[in-house]
Amino acid sequence: MLRWIVWRDLMLAWRRRADALSTLFFFVIVVSLFPLGIGPEAELLRSVAPGVVWVAALLASMLSLGRLFANDYQDGTLEQIMMTPQPLYLIVLGKVAAQWLTSELPLVCIAPLLGVQFGLSNKTVGVLLITLLLGTPVLSLIGSIGAALTLGLRSSSVLISILVLPLYIPILIFGAGAVEAEIIGMTAASHIYLLGAVFVLALIFAPWATAAALKISVE
């Protein structure tokens, strides 16, 4: 059953490639603006890089979250999906997985290239990649709660940001912190372990909260 929902969302994303691409371009442009604005001081760029990349990733994920349930809600397919004989928890998990694959994974893949702009070393780029791989699924999972809660409301995209961005703070701290620690020559491991713990917690609790929020929104 889970593969049907993932396959469906992947196919829909493929038919609307422009949506996923715009998230990617947003991320690339926001990150690229900083070296242009700050100037070519290598030392300064290197020290702001982790924060810039991570904040841009948070903002980019806001763009795709609005679409997570809204389109399905409008055309009535969300109701149909919720009335299928399978736990809503799994359905949410499937949709979040598809959202991560189409909107977050491309960001993770392009991040090493952006790291070069900031003069990061290979090893630092590696740490950045690991934190993004662990952290972006958490963004999708936590964001899905906000997307479900604001479903069907006007100006829901602004509301999602207000609801969800504060919840992203731990991921930002651990994610950017790991890369920073690597840059100044300390071990990044402790931050990465914490990020992993947050990921596991979000994987267990977020779909459950999203399912409950969806039930309220669809009423």
């Binding site: 059953m1 049907w4 929902i5 396959w7 469906r8 196919m11 829909l12 038919r15 609307r16 409008q74 055309d75 009535g76 397919t77 109701e79 149909q80 999906i81 919720m82 009335m83 299928t84 004989p85 399978q86 736990p87 669809v218 009423e219």
Partner: protein
């Protein structure tokens, strides 16, 4: 209850196999709300809905496997073709449908040769037919149909009538909220009028 407003109260009925219940009432009398309560999408402020003697909220997902709901929104994705829509919604209900079966179901509902057209290119009536094709492939015992006759032509309405007759004679139950009479020739027809 919708918001602070009470829409209807003291609505009670029980249906046997092979029964068609037509829910009528003026606009805003709560036909759609009643159907959504029967679907389990909306919780009634008071009372309960029971299926085979058990409360639908305790049955949970098991209840959904015995019902097909066609809402006034079509519930199909514009980006997908008619056949893909059908296969995916069947797949999500736990029924594997191959391309040929999907094509046959669409042909039966009058969409021959339209199965690989993206749904956004179909007309309103054709999109309605795609959502009706779900009834053919899901084998549910309970059909909940909300205003399904809007934007359907005469041929399609006759088709819907024969589909419902077939469903009732096979021991199914159908509940439809509609203004139009279907004039079924088979099955046990009951009416429920919601007062405003």
């Amino acid at each position: 209850m919708r918001g602070e407003r009470k829409i209807f109260s003291n609505v009670g009925f029980s249906l046997q196999s092979g029964t068609y219940l037509q829910v009528t009432g003026a606009n805003g009398s709560g036909k759609t709300s009643l159907l959504r309560i029967l679907c389990g999408l909306l919780a009634p402020a008071e009372g309960a809905v029971k299926w085979d003697g058990a409360d639908i909220h305790s049955l949970g997902e098991d209840y959904f496997s015995s019902l097909t709901f066609i809402g006034h929104r079509h519930g199909i994705k514009d980006e997908l073709t008619a056949a893909e829509n059908l296969r995916i919604s069947a797949g999500l209900s736990g029924i594997e449908v191959d391309k040929t079966t999907a094509r046959e179901a669409l042909a039966r509902i009058g969409l021959t040769g339209r199965d690989s057209v993206p749904a956004r290119l179909l007309s309103e009536g054709q999109r309605r037919r795609v959502s009706l094709a779900r009834l053919l492939i899901t084998n549910s015992r309970l059909w909940l149909l909300d205003e399904i006759l809007t934007s359907l032509d005469k041929v399609a309405i006759t088709l819907v009538r024969s589909l419902i007759e077939e469903h009732l004679s096979g021991g199914g139950i159908a509940i439809a909220a509609t203004h139009q009479e279907l004039e079924l020739s088979a099955g046990n027809v009951q009416r429920l009028e919601l007062a405003t």
